[in-house]
Symmetry: C2
Subunit: 331 residues, 2 copies
């Protein structure tokens, strides 16, 4: 399968970077990547390597050779995991990929430091990469980190507001920064490594962003109505935590009677037994339908951008397969 | 004065980078740099720009032109400030440069995110710099970040151990990683931008590391016996917090009767009135003398490395002046 092939080619580069870390940070990073358990016993890795796969698929779509882009693919994955480590600290999330988060095992400070080090490693890999596109990729990835941080900042700020104080545009922009930006950057980096011109690189970025938003919309829908075995967290966990996910904000801003009921529920902490009512209110206020339509719309836009970036449908096959894959799963 | 000239040339580059941040992170960064107060009112900056000055002085020492190295000097300063933001969060320090730390004003999450963004900005500045040395500088700076993180990690781990469980070598290695590494990296980056060969770059790195250790030793001495107006924190604050600074660990490991008394004091939380006894115990156990001799020794080693890197004493004047400056002050 495509993602397994990608992991087989990118993992050695990723591991080489992580193994270069001094002891305690190496432990935290190995644990976070799923390469060892909390006691140091080796384990099979986790994470689906979607972003490195996008880098390599974008290279292939533009007719470039994939092996020279493997370090860049590893750099993108290092950035992704740096943000996961830090986001989990800030959000106080205790579970990631079905396991306790790194900060719950190693403490907040060590998780922050491991994240800082992974960001540095990503940039080191690119700075040491002699490929002519490596500087442009490094600049793009650094700009993307700023956008990821801004997305996380807005996400936390929105969570502190009342149920009636969040606009749908704000949550969409936040989701684009938090999820779309890095998927877009991964595709753009692939374009750079294939020697693509600016217009194609930008179209690849837009493709990844739109597919990323579609992914987030579907992830939010699965989080409310879906299969917890797929998402790694209990169904309804976002609702119980009163998270302002995309379907919820669409419901809250729908102007329907169900919106008022939902706002009332969201104004109070979760109480045993009100989950069913909350789910129903989101649904009646049109949150589910909106999210599904919006996801379809975003996928259509992604396809349009893909056709601009990669006119040959056969060459675009890998990117298309990944876009379809991510919009059916969660990471 | 040298440092003012450096600030005048590097500040515009620094500000351009910080102003490119999205709103809330820009506020945190501006506040941290002292460019505005907590309410957004403009203020004169703080921070002494020692590290950018080292970059530019190293360039000049090797006969290179300084202006092309200004972005690299700004990148080094961005990295320094990223680590300050994160260290203050981890150490729960509430004062920095005579002002409340950023996390006490904006919250832990926003301070973490601003730090993450400053690291990214530093790498972006270098990735967008067309200078032929920029990639080598970026790689070196990224490796230095890993070392800085490792130093902070060990620092916190040592603080959790008992007074008898810390070896002097460990604290010296920690101080080299936490303080020496970035001063060394700043000098090395200057060497790279001047087109110096590897041997000269390494000697510059060693010069900065040794001067950095001398600085830390003297800073620790001032923290116990010095003028609080100079250090920005009350005299004896490190002792009251039972910090294992270099003179303290030298005293604890001295094998003298005063070492046992100090260990006993350090085994208990600070009590009103025991500061004088603690200061005296460190002094009687030889902590002050050791630190002063060690600082002189490190400065001698720094001078030796400087003579290897820059054989012409006149050209080395700027670096020499900075080394003397940092070993008489704190940042």
């Amino acid at each position: 399968m495509l993602l397994e092939r990608v992991r087989a080619s990118v993992d050695p580069e990723l591991r080489r970077a992580v193994e270069s870390l001094p002891g305690p940070m190496r432990c935290v990073a190995r644990y976070h990547f799923g390469w060892q358990d909390a006691h140091g016993t080796p384990a099979v890795g986790n994470g689906k390597a979607i972003r490195p796969a996008l880098v390599l698929a974008a290279v292939a779509a533009l007719g470039g050779p994939q092996p020279p882009a493997v370090p860049a693919a590893a750099a993108v994955e290092l950035i992704h995991n740096f943000t996961l480590l830090h986001d989990d600290v800030m959000d106080r999330d205790i579970t990631r990929r079905h396991r306790p988060t790194a900060w719950t095992v190693f403490g907040v400070a060590d998780a922050i430091l491991a994240g800082d080090a992974l960001q540095a490693l990503a940039q080191r890999v690119l700075a040491e990469d002699p490929h002519p596109a490596s500087s442009a990729a490094a600049a793009r990835l650094a700009a993307c980190v700023v956008e990821l941080c801004a997305g996380q900042q807005v996400d936390m700020a929105l969570e502190k507001r009342g149920p009636h104080e969040v606009a749908l545009d704000e949550v969409l922009a936040m989701a684009e920064a938090k999820t779309g930006a890095l998927l877009g950057c991964a595709c753009a980096v692939g374009g750079l490594y294939a020697g693509a011109g600016e217009a194609h690189v930008e179209a690849l970025d837009a493709f990844g962003r739109e597919a990323g938003l579609a992914f987030q919309l579907i992830d939010d829908v699965i989080g409310i109505w879906g299969d917890p075995g797929r998402t790694g967290k209990p169904a309804g966990a976002d609702l119980m935590a009163r998270k302002k996910s995309l379907p919820v904000v669409a419901a809250l801003t729908s102007g329907t009677p169900a919106a008022d009921e939902l706002a009332e529920l969201y104004g109070l902490p979760y109480e045993e037994g009100d989950l069913e009512r909350t789910v129903l209110a989101v649904e009646r206020a049109g949150g589910r339908d909106w999210a599904q339509l919006q996801a379809a719309d975003r996928m259509a836009r992604a396809m349009y951008e893909l056709s601009r970036a990669v006119p040959d449908p056969e060459a675009a096959g890998g990117l298309l397969a990944l876009a379809e894959f991510v919009t059916r799963r969660s990471d």
